[in-house]
Structure formats: structure tokens, C-alpha cells
Symmetry: C2
Subunit: 410 residues, 2 copies
């Protein structure tokens, strides 16, 4: 079994180790919930201060021009693009993931007018299920959403399928789907593919170009570290740029917003997907987070991510044999950057760990979820987290009366 000294050694050799100092993280905490909310970077803190106190406070309305607020959605989009393997001009930052999925679904359905089926994953994140149903109902031409077992996708692919919308990394188990393979099968059926990258962006290398993805959207508040409720982003393959239509249009997606025309004329490319004035403070936090990402090689992130999750699984199995069902795939090509442990007393376990400063989260009915973000999680953190887990179970801390009634653990 890997020792703590070996973990210290791994940290010393880690090419990403120096990045931890960019994050404001109390060393008394072991933060394994960056898959829910990434921590604050020094650069985001400074960017938010500047945007609030200088750009808004001093520049006032002039900052829409002088501070470049108008161009933020596409300028930051181009920086997010690097994280998903997209070229410049193909990603826009706007709204939230759910609204962007709505827009992508709306335009994808229009691109397949003769087809009436939207396929999604029964285990998808719930907002994805809700917005898919919502859009199907709005586009009242008999579109139906079929939420399936994703492992049986091929059985459902037929010439009535307009769109398949899947989340690339499962939010519960951390299972990663085959981006290229599924996209190709969906295309073979004549359908379009929308990927949700909520748990992928900044967690695993993505290459939408090679994988021939049509559309994708993601959030920035998880592994990207853009802060609570941070903006979403959308990718549209360049081959679709001339054909998409923002079904929820607003003035900032107009080709000339200040011409105030009565009829919506879309801006070229992904820019038309912007609806409203973006939250400048939220974009500033994202900009700061991207200052760190600009320095990062995603292949190094992936190598460390797999090493951290492998180490966690190894230590759990060695120290607590049979205690947990490990819901996350062992196979590297099916794993995101989190590990999910199933346990009937999982809620109490996560709460007891929280009291020890080990922050993970719980998902009904029995999943203890631990995210391993390679930019700031250390090998010793993994070692120490498992040490705490062993002590919680040995001392029965998870069976404390206070944990009998469940409250949300975000």
C-alpha cells in the first residue's frame, strides 16, 4: 500500500504542484468538492475587485467600451475553447448551462425538422431532464423526450431521432462516456449530438474537433473555478455556424446591438447565442480562473487526475476492504476526475468527514462523492482523507444522532 512518505514524494515530483499556491485554500481543509464548486484563486479575487471597484466603480457605464465588457462573451469563450479542443470563434460564454442547453436543443430541433425524438440519459443531471422536457413541450410539434439507459443507446437510434443529449461525465458515478464513439453513432443515425460538459471541463482533456461534436455546453463553477453560479459556455461546430438560430434571442446577440432594429438579425457565429447583458462580476471571476488555466497542460492534468483517483481507490480498498461499493469505473478511459463510494450510511459519513475538514458531498440515495481537482489537490490530501475516513468508521462518528435527519449537502 502506498505510504504517506511516498505521497509526499509524489507531490514533490508533481509538475502541477506549484499551482496550488494560486488558490486561496486553508491548509486545515482537504477540499474534495471542486466538482461542485471550485475554490477561489488569487487572480479571480483580484479580477473581481478590479471589475467591481475600478471598472464599475470608477469607469461606470463607460466600461462597456473601455473595459471591454461588450466583448467578454466571445473573448472569454476563446479562452474556454482551449479546454475543450475548440478553435477560436466557436465558444461563447453566457447565461447558464441550462439556458444554453435550451438554445442548443431549440436550434438542433430546427435543423432536423422531420424528426420528433430527443434522446437523453435517465441518469442525467436533473436540470438537463427538465429543460429537455420543457423545450420539447414549447416546440409543440409533437417532440418527445425519451430518457433511456445510456448503455442501450443503439437500440433507440433510428430515423426519428433528431437530437441526442448526454452528459459526458456522470455527476453521480464519475463515469466518462466515449465522446467520439457515441457522437459517430448518433451521426450515423442522422441525428445531432449535444454534449453537457459540466463535469468534464477542466477535469479531463476534451477534443470536440477530433470527436466531430456538433454542440456542447458546460458550466464554469466546478473544475474551472469561476465561482458560485458562474456563467455557462456553449460550443457550436464551425460547420453549423451559418445554420444555427438563437431560439431565445436578445439584443446582445444582434449583429449590431446599438442599431436597435425591430427584427432580430443574428451576429455571425456563436455570438448570436448571447441573449442578455452578462454579469460582469461573474465574468471577471471566470477571467481570473482562466488566468490559471492558460498556464496548464491538460495532459498533465489528466495524468495527475488518474493518479489521484487510482490512489484514492487503492487506499480505500486496502484500508477498508468491502466497506464500500466503488461506483466509479476502474478503467481509465471510463473515468472522470471524481470517485463515488456507495454506502448505506453514506450521508453520515460525508457529514462526519465534513466536521474533520474533509469536504466531499453526498448524493441520494447512497453516494459519497469525492472530486480530485489536480490543480490544487495533493497526493498527501488523498492519503489523509482516507485516514480520516478510516477513523470516522472506526469511531462510528457517522452514526451520530445529528446525522439522522438529512439536510442538503451541496
Amino acid at each position: 500500500m502506498t505510504s504517506r512518505d511516498e505521497c509526499v514524494g509524489l507531490d514533490q515530483k508533481d509538475p502541477l504542484a506549484e499551482l496550488r499556491s494560486e488558490f486561496i485554500l486553508d491548509d486545515s481543509l482537504i477540499y474534495l468538492d471542486g466538482n461542485s464548486l471550485g475554490p477561489l484563486t488569487t487572480s479571480s479575487r483580484e479580477r473581481v475587485r478590479t471589475a467591481t471597484e475600478r471598472e464599475w466603480g470608477e469607469g461606470l457605464v463607460r466600461s462597456w467600451g473601455s473595459a471591454g465588457w461588450m466583448e467578454q462573451p466571445t473573448r472569454l469563450g476563446d479562452r474556454v475553447a482551449r479546454l475543450i479542443g475548440a478553435g477560436p470563434g466557436a465558444v461563447v460564454v453566457a447565461d447558464t448551462l441550462t439556458f444554453l442547453l435550451a438554445k442548443l436543443l431549440g436550434t438542433a430541433l430546427e435543423l432536423r425538422p422531420g424528426r420528433t425524438t430527443v434522446i437523453t440519459d435517465r441518469a442525467n443531471f436533473h436540470s438537463d431532464l427538465y429543460i429537455a422536457e420543457g423545450m420539447a413541450r414549447l416546440t409543440s410539434r409533437g417532440v418527445r423526450v425519451v430518457a433511456i439507459d445510456r448503455n442501450r443507446l443503439d437500440e433507440y437510434l433510428n430515423d426519428d431521432v433528431a437530437v441526442v443529449m448526454l452528459t459526458h461525465v456522470d455527476f453521480r458515478t464519475g463515469e466518462m462516456l466515449d465522446l467520439s464513439g457515441i457522437t459517430a453513432r448518433v451521426h450515423q443515425a442522422g441525428a445531432l449530438m449535444i454534449w453537457d460538459f459540466a463535469h468534464s471541463t477542466g477535469a479531463v482533456p476534451l477534443d470536440v474537433t477530433t470527436a466531430n461534436v456538433d454542440f456542447a455546453a458546460g458550466c464554469t463553477y466546478k473544475y474551472v473555478n469561476a465561482g458560485p453560479g458562474g456563467p455557462g459556455f456553449a460550443y457550436v461546430a464551425p460547420r453549423w455556424h451559418a445554420e444555427i438560430r438563437n431560439v431565445l434571442p436578445g439584443w446582445l446577440g444582434h449583429v449590431a446591438p446599438f442599431d436597435f432594429e425591430e427584427t432580430f438579425r443574428p451576429a455571425p457565429g456563436v455570438r448570436q447565442l448571447v441573449t442578455s447583458s452578462p454579469s460582469v462580476l461573474a465574468l471577471a471571476a471566470l477571467e481570473g480562473a482562466l488566468d490559471v488555466w492558460d498556464r496548464v497542460d491538460m495532459s498533465e492534468v489528466r495524468t495527475k487526475s488518474l493518479a489521484l483517483t487510482d490512489l484514492f481507490i487503492e487506499l480505500v480498498e486496502e484500508t477498508l476492504p468491502g466497506e464500500f461499493e466503488i461506483a466509479t469505473p476502474r478503467s481509465h478511459d471510463q473515468r472522470g476526475s471524481q470517485v463515488a463510494l456507495r454506502h448505506s450510511e453514506g450521508y453520515g459519513i460525508v457529514r462526519a468527514l465534513l466536521e474533520r475538514g474533509v469536504i466531499g458531498d453526498f448524493r441520494d440515495p447512497d453516494i459519497c462523492r469525492f472530486g480530485f481537482a489536480p490543480l490544487y489537490v495533493r497526493y498527501v490530501d488523498v492519503y489523509d482523507a482516507v485516514g480520516h475516513l478510516v477513523e470516522v468508521l472506526e469511531k462510528g462518528e457517522h452514526q451520530d444522532d445529528r446525522f439522522r435527519v438529512r439536510h442538503a449537502v451541496t
Copy 2:
């Protein structure tokens, strides 16, 4: 004609005068563009710092519970409610104005299933026109949007009209419409009324309860001072709470978000209109702005607003007779809190004023727009702004070559 000394005297007697010190405003500027972007308050600066550096930075994901982030949409909604005459539980803060209008239109159309006409104002803000068209097209049951001359509304009200959507204060001219009267006429035709309060909230007293308004939405970055791209808000009359449906649903509007149910079950009341996790930093800025509004009596705001706009009109007419067409109504009951001056060289005039530190804005084709926000604009500011305007025109500064090519003046 009112003298500068008299203006100094008016400021000394102004019951709102002390509020100016809550704003971070350089005394070398005369800020008459709070109808586009309100200035930063000390309280917003502090709230954004706290939310960023303490709640996100130190509390991390735990702050969704411990810092009350989950309840912000309704808690802040209850504070915005005071500004529009709504009771508790009837206003929610979320998304942006345009998305909230989309949701209100969507649910209103469902409440009038046999009717197919949406009426709006040809002179409405463009996002409103675009989103109305977008929603009509999405709800593809033959709904058509008719953009009319709002003065001829009665001619268009018939039993096919499902919804009328108007902006209460015209963004170009500052004309204020008759909230109660129009709502009553729309109801008489069996239609529902959606009001856009973008240029009304914090600018004029509003009483949605007495006016029997069905639905309303607004933004918070203008007179409310919540910062660039600040969140929107929506009002739903309590009589509709049991009947509305969020047509763009997401997990945070679910009755039990952490139950992760496959099917959307709406939270009670307006809460269901929340779709995604809100930007906590944007909400923090709004919270700070509301700290000031909590201390304000809207009738005092109205009294000063009318005095400021009267004074501006008087001074412009006295010092520059015949130079401008005053597009804003003289009648108090038809005036918001801005004055629009038409001039064929309006663009150059606004740019030349900007260089003198008098910030207004320009709207095609010929409107110089000046907003008078009673919380921080002083009577002497009005006097001095007109003084600058006189000098610009006397010296021909507005005809400078640099102003021949128009750039956006936000």
C-alpha cells in the same frame, strides 16, 4: 430662471441628500446615466468582497447552506418587492430580464390556450421584441406577435389577444404609461398583462397590487444600482401562483432540488421560476444596493425626480430656446425619471459632454438621454450639466471631427 444658488439651497433642503455619500462617485463627474448603469454603493462593494473572499473563498461549497445562497432568489425578491408594491413571496430574483419575460410569456400563453395574439409596442426595447417573437415561434401553435403603436392599443384588443406586453417607461423618451388603466383595459378584453419595469424600478413608485398587474419583470442594473449585468426579477400576482408553470425549468425551481427527481415538480409560488444556480457575486452586489433602498421612501424619490427633471427642462428651454425638441412628456403623470432631448447633432453633443465629465447617452437616431436618479443626482448637478451643454454648443465642441463616425455610447 432658477439660479445656481437656488440649486445649492434645494440640495440643502433635500431629504435624500445624505444618500449620495453611500455611492462611490467622483465629484468631478456629473452622472446622468443611472438609467443605463447605476453607480457602485459602498455597501455593494463590501457585499461583493464578503461574498467573494469570505463566503466563496473561505466557506467554499458549504456557503450554499451557511451563507444562505440557496434562499437568495426569494429573500432578495422580497426586498425588491417593496420597490414595486408587491407583498412577500410574490417576487423572485433570477436570470436576466429577457429570460424572465420569456418565462412569463410562456406561462401566460398557456393560461390563454384559445388565443393566439401577443401585443407589444413597436417602440419597445429590442430584446423584448426579439424574445416575444422567439417565444411565439417556439410555442408553435400559430401565436403571432403584433407590434403596435401603443397609443392605439384599444383598436387591437379583441378576444384573440392572449397577452399584452409593454414597457412601463419608454427607454428612449422616458414616457411613463398608465399602469392601472392599461392593465384594466387589457383585462376587460380577457387578456393577461406583462409589464417590463426596466426603466421604472427605483425610478418611479409602482404599485402592482393596486394596479392589479398579472405579471411583471425588471432588471436591477439601472436605477436599482446592482451592477453591470445584474440579475433580473419577476413578479407574479398571488392569484396566479397555483397556475403558472416555468416553461424553462431547472433544478433550483424544483420543490426539492436535492431529491433529484426525474420529473420537474415545481416549488410553490414564484420560486419555481428559478432555473439555474444564480450568480452569487451578482446577487451580492444587488444585496448591497438594496441596503440603500431599504432606507428610502419612494414618494420622496418621486418628488425629487420630478423636481430634477422639471429643473432640467426649464434650464434647457431658458438657456437654449428652440435648440432641442424635448421628447419627454411635460405632464408629470406621463414622465419617468429621465429626459430625452432630440437634436440632429445629438451624437456629437453626448460625446462632447462626456469629455467634460457629464455622462449621458445617445440613442439612434437623434436622442440625447439624461437620467436623473434622485439617490445621488443633485440639483447643482442639473444646473452644471446644462451649463456644460450651453458651452458645448456655443464652442461647437460637438462638431469635432472625432465624432463624425459613430461608436456605441452605452
